[in-house]
């Protein structure tokens, strides 16, 4: 698939976030990530617990301050902007959370939750106009208007997530970070919300960073996919390409681990990864996946593997693959 040459909406270079722990240790949550997302496209960020994908999402919005690296939004360097300076940018980039209940203030009614951002930024002059817009947003996300005065705890997970989406849309953002937005929902509701997100993307030209651990969901919604492991990107490619030619041993193992809903794979021996995720604290040099990898060599444990392009648009960070 030919890569578009238009400028990316958001771009990062060497983005890092280290957390200081008691006793001086450093937790490498995100360790040198380069990515770019174009307007109207979705970047899927996949990984298991501890890979740093949620931290990455919050870094993009500067809800967490980066330790190192750069973030560019519409070409502008926003890395060092203060909270005050970021305020106007909040209209351009938003977030949808994983837990559809915890992200809504239980004491606020549905319409108040959706209207909150508009009140903060005084998007309209009168209260009536703001509430009117909030009601329109409810229509847009498929929430019946009769729920305006309901409270979150009266509604189910799917509806609550729609409230979160409506709120995220209220300022007219260009980028939305979706942090596992369907993981907490039932299968049939997941499908409804995924469809909604895709429709909104088409209608409004939104860009998404879609963070999830579920590979089947990410394939469905993404243009590009990035696989993360222990804070680093180990593979990045267009969605179809990643699934057709998974290259990094972790990506392959991740794909193999998903139980398929069909009987043909039943008797096959699943390629299991050994062991558990190693610690992101005080990481030593060398490939972080080495301890669990069947193809690990000497070279793997000595140097950090670099992200190299093995075919147009397809990047892999693996010493063995890249023959370093």
């Amino acid at each position: 698939m030919p890569v578009e040459k238009s400028a990316p909406l958001v771009r990062t270079e060497g983005l890092k976030k280290y957390f200081k722990l008691k006793g001086g240790a450093q937790l490498h949550a995100v360790d040198g990530v380069d990515l770019e997302i174009r307007q109207g496209e979705t970047l899927g960020v996949v990984g298991e617990s501890g890979c740093g994908k949620s931290t990455l999402g919050r870094l993009m919005l500067k809800l967490i301050e980066p330790t190192d690296g750069k973030i560019y939004f519409e070409g502008k360097d926003i890395t060092k902007l203060s909270v005050r300076q970021m305020r106007p940018l909040r209209k351009e980039m938003q977030i949808i959370f994983q837990d559809p209940y915890a992200c809504l203030d239980a004491r606020m009614s549905v319409i108040d939750i959706i209207a909150e951002y508009m009140f903060i930024h005084r998007t309209y002059k009168t209260r009536a106009e703001i509430y009117n817009r909030a009601a329109q947003l409810m229509d847009q996300v498929g929430l019946a208007r009769r729920y305006s005065n309901a409270y979150p705890h009266e509604l189910d997970g799917g509806r609550r997530q729609r409230i979160g989406i409506a709120r995220a849309l209220s300022l007219g953002p260009k980028l939305i970070v979706c942090d596992e937005p369907v993981s907490a929902l039932d299968v049939s509701i997941q499908a409804q919300i995924l469809n909604l997100l895709m429709d909104l993307q088409e209608e409004l030209g939104l860009a998404y960073m879609f963070v999830t651990h579920d590979l089947s969901v990410v394939k469905h919604i993404s243009n590009q996919i990035m696989v993360m492991y222990l804070g680093q990107c180990v593979e990045r490619a267009e969605a179809d390409e990643l699934f057709a030619h998974p290259t990094h041993p972790y990506t392959k193992a991740l794909l193999a681990a998903i139980p398929r809903p069909d009987l043909s794979a039943r008797s096959e021996e699943v390629q299991l990864i050994r062991g558990e995720v190693t610690s992101p604290i005080n990481v030593k040099p060398g490939c972080r996946f080495a301890a669990r990898c069947d193809h690990c060599t000497e070279a793997c444990t000595e140097k950090d593997p670099k992200l190299m392009e093995i075919s147009p648009g397809h990047f892999v960070a693996c010493t063995m693959v890249n023959g370093q």
């Binding site: 499908a191 995924l194 651990h213 998903i258 398929r260 009987l263 995720v277």
Partner: protein, 335 residues
């Protein structure tokens, strides 16, 4: 189902369970029947609120005492009706003949006891005259059986990761070598690669111990890879049941089952839009009059809104849907 009675380790007949509070009555399980063959795994599939956990808890009589009530039905384990047992008899069954593994390993383990002590506790409960050395030996055996170094029996739960904790929970469940294991969403809280490890371990243990299993899950993929028979549950009823071949390769399905298949993004294909089931699971205090699925079913007919469908059985495959009544090769009988 055409299976002979003595080949079934567990048979549930016509079970009705409610939760009764001051305000309302929740009809959690409504006259379900299912059976688990010896050495086989039955997958109980459904979404939140279908009644799967209630069914599991009913088998072990672990429903909340203040609100849970088993109104009707029988649960026969190896020929004995568990619903007639008193508490003392049930204690001899739990952990010993039938074990259960719950979803969240974080809360299933006691944080102030070592894992070795927790396994030992289960052993001592069901083996009155067991010696201390024998207990230690069995603890170490069980730990290595689930892939944990025996030396770690002195470690506390917080020193283990999520996947390892779940293995410990499974170890406790299996240490007395039960005949039936009930696993309630055992891998939902785990990462997918760890899930694969744990499922593979459970599969090999089942084979080794010749154990039967009731696997409760919402993940059709897990069902396909681990189960022999399947029952699809919705709003307290079993809408479809059969062997795993019936479910995944058969042509006729309950509209709900079809809807579930359509809702899962298929990893091997790229469709633009998913076809989700419209609407929501019904309120269990106010279930629809006819077929429980009728408000959401795209094939809903007039009769569906009025009358509960009867279960149609074709060999091993049974369906509870008006679409399949009066078709050839079916035996209609009240479900």
């Amino acid at each position: 189902m055409e299976e002979k009675r003595q080949d079934n380790i567990l048979e549930i007949q016509d079970l009705k369970v409610i939760y009764k509070t001051d305000f309302e009555t929740v009809e959690a399980v409504n006259h379900i029947s299912l059976s688990i063959g010896k050495g086989k795994t039955l997958g109980l599939v459904g979404e939140t609120g279908a009644g799967k956990t209630t069914t599991a808890l009913s088998i072990l009589r672990l429903l909340p005492a203040t609100t849970g009530r088993i109104l009707e039905g029988s649960i026969t384990f190896n020929g004995h009706n568990l619903l007639e047992y008193d508490e003392h008899q049930m204690q001899a069954v739990r952990g010993n003949l039938i074990s259960m593994v719950f979803q969240d390993p974080m809360t299933s383990l006691n944080p102030v006891l070592t894992v070795g002590e927790q396994i030992a506790e289960a052993l001592r409960l069901h083996n009155e005259h067991i010696s201390k050395e024998e207990v230690e030996k069995r603890v170490e055996e069980t730990l290595s059986m689930v892939g944990i170094l025996p030396a770690r029996k002195h470690d506390y739960p917080h020193q283990f990761s999520g996947g390892m904790k779940q293995r410990v929970v499974i170890a406790i469940a299996l240490c007395c070598e039960p005949e039936l294991l009930i696993a309630d969403e055992p891998t939902t809280a785990l990462d997918v690669t760890i899930q694969a490890q744990v499922l593979a371990m459970m599969r090999s243990l089942r084979e080794r111990l010749g154990m039967s299993m009731l696997m409760i899950t919402h993940d059709l993929g897990i069902v396909a890879q681990t189960c022999d028979d399947v029952a699809v549950m919705y709003a307290g009823e079993i809408l479809e049941a059969g062997t795993v071949t019936d479910l995944f390769t058969g042509t006729d399905h309950h509209p709900y089952t079809q809807g579930l298949f359509n809702s899962i993004p298929n990893i091997d294909a790229r469709a633009h839009r998913l076809k989700p089931i419209p609407g929501l699971v019904p309120d269990p205090t106010d279930l629809p009059k006819g077929c429980v699925f009728s408000p959401r079913c795209e094939h809903c007919m007039e009769i569906c809104k009025e009358k509960r469908p009867e279960t149609v059985t074709r060999g091993t495959h049974s369906l509870r849907c008006h679409l399949f009544q009066n078709q050839e090769g079916g035996d209609a009988h009240a479900g």
